[in-house]
Homo-oligomer: 326 residues x 2
């Protein structure tokens, strides 16, 4: 089995490839090769029993998708995107990368011919929803995104469903929760604080909390994210019918509950490293974000997230900190 990971240099892409390299197979089938594709791919590939090839390129450049599809991967993970803030700041770049790039990929697959029909796993986002919404968003709630990023993800979901219905490929769209605790350095994304207030204190650093403790949001760990992708690639897609896009399970909790979970896992000394610095701009952005989902269908389809925020913190300590707290 050949696997293509587009956006293989991103946080989730790297973790997915590490997991596949360790497993050596996907859904019981031995992996013969992984092709990882991204605009930059700095980390060397992990040790593996099969070759991992690296291709550098931009999916939104005409012709790039064809170069990938000609390799006839059996499974394509499409994780490449620019983030919400950048897509909002640069309208043309957002549509080019997040919409046109994906459409080029889908078109290249459709035109490949010869009975080629790969599995395509596409990462969408809870940004396909926009306020106002009910406290817990049901599975049949409509998509009224309030960002260009959310609009682009919703459009790609629709294309994925139509191309799958037409039989051009076998697609699954995954509406990721906010991934938390995100490893690495603090970044300027408006959602960054959800991870910063856990990751930095655990590493002995101070972190800024820009919103009140009653802000509620929807989370899953990076480990759960990799699990979602692998489950989507190995599940029987007949269970999806024509509805190819799935709101995934996650943990709904307030910032206050995040902090209490951190206290339980790591104690007052670590929690004391969170500094409250209210930021009106971030509060306003966050007010338009989903807080909770029913996600019944995602669970029924076999997707699994953590059951508590405490569990999310323990996953971070295990996977990123070698079990140690500073």
């Amino acid at each position: 089995m050949n696997i293509l990971v587009i956006g293989g240099g991103g946080m989730v892409g790297v973790k997915l490839i590490n997991r596949l390299a360790k497993d050596g197979k996907l859904g019981g089938t031995p992996i013969s090769k992984i092709i990882r594709h991204d605009v930059v791919l700095s980390p060397p590939p992990p040790a593996s029993a099969f070759p991992i090839e690296t291709l550098i390129g931009d999916l939104s450049t005409p012709g790039e998708a064809e170069k990938l599809v000609v390799l006839k991967p059996d499974v394509i993970f499409h994780l490449a995107a620019i983030v919400s803030g950048e897509a909002e700041a640069d309208f043309e770049k957002g549509y080019r990368i997040n919409l046109d790039g994906t459409r080029y990929l889908f078109e290249a697959i459709r035109k490949a011919g010869g009975g080629y029909k790969p599995k395509v796993i596409f990462t969408s986002s809870i940004a396909v929803f926009g306020a106002p919404f009910p406290e817990a968003i049901p599975d049949e709630f409509f998509n009224t995104p309030l960002t260009s990023y959310g609009t682009q993800k919703t459009i790609c979901e629709l294309l994925l469903a139509d191309y799958s219905r037409r039989g051009f490929f076998d697609g699954v769209g995954l509406r990721f929760p906010t991934i938390c605790v995100r490893p690495g350095k603090p970044n300027l994304a408006a959602s960054g604080f959800f991870s910063n207030i856990i990751r930095e204190p655990l590493a002995g650093q101070e972190a800024v909390l820009p919103v009140p403790e009653d802000v509620r949001h929807w989370h899953a760990s990076p480990r759960a994210a990799v699990g979602f992708l692998i489950h989507a690639a190995t599940m029987d897609t007949a269970a999806l019918g024509a509805r190819r896009n799935v709101t995934l399970p996650g943990v709904s909790c307030t910032v206050g509950e995040q902090i209490e979970a951190l206290r339980k896992v790591a104690g007052d000394r670590v929690v004391a490293r969170i500094k409250r610095e209210p930021n009106e701009t971030i509060m306003k952005i966050v007010a338009g974000w989903p807080r909770n989902f029913e996600a019944r269908r995602g669970r029924e389809l076999g997707f699994k997230a953590e059951n508590s925020f405490e569990e999310i913190i323990r996953v971070h300590i295990e996977d990123e900190l070698g079990g140690k707290i500073a």
Copy 2:
């Protein structure tokens, strides 16, 4: 006020232009010019107190949208599309005309600059919904189209909302009910029989009913369709907020109720011209179509349809038959 009607040669486009020519104004503002655009425009323009210009062209040809936008119309009615059956039969043509054409238009407006911000009225369709759905679809129900046409319309709705949110234009998307009674010759569209079984008997002709009488569907007259467009162009769009796409009101009735309404208006002699010829293919297609909508928001926003199917028949007799039944 300058008005552009893209798809001005279609059934609704012609009726809209006739109405505007008769009114001489839109929302109290005198009309200075109408530009009608379509791939073919056979009927001559109606008599009017202002010039009606005719432009022949295909919106999906690169550069065509720019030629229209340079004329700086204050209001753009975008009615151009290929129908559901054709978009399903020809995948590439459907995406080119129904998606790319619309995106070219939106992009040409965005790039026009100089503070240009027209009102854009876009005709969408109840094909943005796909079975299974509740008996009456609520306003917040999700879009899971089961045709490429429905997919293309949903994508254009999302673009319209994002371009409006960004301030590039002031857009309103209208999810038209099935327009009934459609004037003209019977056509091969799967939905054609809803109109055929009324129009043909009223004109002294036989008509074929291919489905059982318990099939329920969602209708509005061509006169109501023109009313929707004019209301959208003249309403205060602040009432829409970020949710720019509206499920319009209509009449939900079964084929049996359509026939009883015809009997009430025109008698047994006319109803006897309906021949039952069950068609499995059409039954299967129709089974995936919406039957009824709550459409509360559309009504609250001031959109008006008929209150009964009898009223729809009477509108047809007045507008198309000069009040006479054969």
